[in-house]
Amino acid sequence: MEEEADMAERGVHDMGGEAGGPVDNHEHVPTLSERRVDALMQLMRANPRSYWVVDEMRRTIESLTPEHYNAAGYYEKWAYALRGLLIEKGVVTEAEIDAKLAEVKSRVAEQSEKC
C-alpha cells in the first residue's frame, strides 16, 4: 500500500536517499541576472514590509511541476517563486508582469536588429 503512495505523492524536491547522479562541485561567479533575482528576493523579504516568509517561498518552489523543477537552475526556481508570490500577495498582477516581459522582449529584438 505504502509503495503505491510513494509513487503518487512524493514531491520532486524530496529526493533524500535516492540516487541523484553526479554532483557538479565547480564554483561559478553568479551572473548579473542571478544577482538580480537574489537582490529582489532579499528586498521582498526585508523588514518592515516583508511580503512572505521562507516557508512560502519553499512551498512555491516545491509546487513546480517535475518538468519545471528539474529543468530550472537554482535561481530560476527563485524567479518562479518570485513571480508566483508577487502575484499571490497582490504586489503586481500577472498582466503587469506579462506586459513588462513583452516590452523587454521587443526592446531586445530591436537592439539585435540594429547589430
Binding site: 505504502e2 503512495a5 510513494d6 503518487a8 505523492e9 512524493r10 514531491g11 524530496d14 533524500g16 536517499g17 512572505w52 516568509v53 516557508d55 512560502e56 519553499r58 512551498r59 512555491t60 516545491e62 509546487s63
Partner: protein, 99 residues
C-alpha cells in the same frame, strides 16, 4: 508542554499528504515510518506547514533532534556500524511514542 523526553523511542508518522496541492513539509519522505530516539529538544516554533500557506499565528510546536541508525533508514540489516546514525530536526506533530 513538550510531549517527548530525551532518550525516548519515537516513530515518524507514516503519513503522505496528497500532492499536488501546494504544501511544504519539512519531514523528509525517507524518514516517514522510521524509528528513532529523541536526542535533544530545541523549543517551540511556528509550524512551517502553516507558515508556508501564510498562516503566521497558529500555535507553536516543539522541534526535536531525532537520531536514526543507518541500519533503520536504509534496511542495512546490521551492515552499518552501530554508531552510524543520522540526526534530523523533526516537529512534534510528526512523531508518535514507541514503547
Amino acid at each position: 508542554m513538550a510531549a517527548f523526553e530525551i532518550g525516548q523511542a519515537v516513530k515518524v508518522r507514516a503519513e503522505h499528504p496528497l500532492r499536488p496541492q501546494p504544501i511544504h513539509i519539512r519531514t523528509p519522505w525517507y524518514l516517514r515510518g522510521k524509528h528513532g530516539v529523541v536526542e535533544r529538544r530545541f523549543g517551540e516554533f511556528h509550524n512551517p506547514e502553516h507558515l508556508a500557506v501564510g498562516q503566521y499565528d497558529t500555535p507553536e510546536v516543539t522541534l526535536y533532534w531525532v537520531r536514526f541508525t543507518m541500519d533503520e533508514l536504509w534496511a542495512g540489516e546490521g551492515s552499518y556500524g552501530s554508531n552510524d546514525s543520522l540526526i534530523v530536526e523533526i516537529y512534534e506533530h510528526w512523531l508518535v511514542s514507541q514503547f
